[in-house]
């Protein structure tokens, strides 16, 4: 595997050819915020948090899918990018009903963490307070659409890892919603294997274990990558 040398925030970074700017940055200890990205799932570049400036490119590029190349000069934390990230987080907070105080994921929520990182002490945009349902039909898990940020991790993990494709995104634009089966109660979908991976990868409290109370959801989405690696090595073993 050949190596590419690039510059991230003024530091020279060596990275394997084929790696993304996000991977190269993380290896070098440069934190680029993400939400829709999760190691082990296909990238969708939808949340736009990981946009970076690349010298010579007029457009901002999502680090999660931009491959490294020799001599690339990347800036990950310019004032312009900080402002963009805060606005993205504000758009997410104002679009749904994110009430940290009563959320199962309070204290263990990627959205909440990102809000702190981008310095959001309040939302400068007005809250929209949409009317969204909660699905408690599954015996073990629940789905609170109020807390969903449409990152589509659940859709991807169920399709790409579990192979059940219980979830998909339906409708469009502001009306987009995660659906199970034919937009039916989750508990009535035969395809669901009750594996709980969707709950594990959900960055917020949208998908949760029933019975968990405020602040009691302690999932670790990064377990997915470990799971993938373990499966992979077993398949490769004789």
């Amino acid at each position: 595997m050949s190596v590419r040398t690039l510059r991230i925030d003024g530091r020279d970074v060596a990275s394997a050819d084929g790696a993304t700017v996000l991977e190269a940055a993380r290896d070098a200890g440069v934190a680029i915020p993400t939400l829709c990205h999760l190691e082990g799932l296909s990238p969708v570049a939808a949340c736009r948090l990981c946009l970076v400036e690349i010298e010579g490119s007029g457009k901002l590029q999502p680090a999660c899918i931009t491959p490294v190349s020799e001599g690339l000069v990347v800036h990950t934390a310019t004032p312009r990018l900080r402002e963009i990230r805060r606005t993205v987080i504000e758009l997410l907070f104002t679009e749904g009903n994110h009430v940290c105080a009563v959320c199962v994921a309070n204290g263990h929520c990627e959205l909440q963490d990102r809000a702190v990182e981008v310095g959001m002490d309040h939302a400068r945009l007005p809250y929209r307070f949409p009317d969204r349902p909660v699905d408690l039909s599954h015996p073990r898990f629940g789905l609170d659409h109020n807390r969903c940020i449409l990152c589509s991790r659940c859709v991807r993990v169920c399709d790409e890892v579990e192979g059940a494709h219980v979830w998909d995104v339906a409708w469009r634009g502001e009306h987009c919603r995660i659906i199970a089966g034919l937009d039916q109660p989750w508990g009535t979908v035969d395809a669901c294997t009750d594996c709980g991976k969707c709950v594990m990868v959900c960055p917020t409290g949208a998908l949760f274990h029933k019975g968990d109370s405020e602040g009691e959801k302690h999932e670790d989405p990064s377990r997915l990558a470990a799971l993938q690696r373990a499966r992979h090595s077993r398949q490769e073993a004789p």
């Binding site: 907070f93 009430v99 009563v102 909440q112 702190v116 309040h122 939302a123």
Partner: protein
Amino acid sequence: MSQLAKQPKLRLATVWLAGCSGCHMSFLDLDEWLIELAPRIEMVFSPIASDTKTYPEDVDVALVEGGVGNSDNLALIHQVRQRTRLLVSFGDCAITANVPGLRNPLAGPAAVLDRSYLELADGSAQWPHAPGLVPELLERVLPVHELVPVDLFLPGCPPPAERIRAVLDALLRGEQPLMEGPEMIRFG
């Protein structure tokens, strides 16, 4: 001591709009520091430390807890803004509408009133109606800054006592508090 010591005491107010008073409780959690605070401020208006019913003029700092949920809240917040130099949105309800705002998706107060006063009534089910006495609910509970300009945001549900202290400390020193990092701005 700093400049402030030479000046008149800081005129502090705390205001309680649509919230659970938890932020005020957290303020009380400052315990013995309150004793340190007492000589440095003049508490000019507060549901927990003052009997004054009218919001006074010439307030230096107001900690406003709660969203704006009814006609009284609305009138008071405009008064607070007019008469206060530094308005602090104190806690998540003031900043996001938070728990009181959970009624907002229901499109108007009728659903809440029905549920509370009719469906769950033990007897004599009726909507409260006493114009001039019982304030009318607004269509939505709004964060304070959607109605009047806010100078400082102090998040948390409630903001931990240490966070409140860090802010007041800075203000007493005449400094702008540094609102960043999980200790200072995490919601919830």
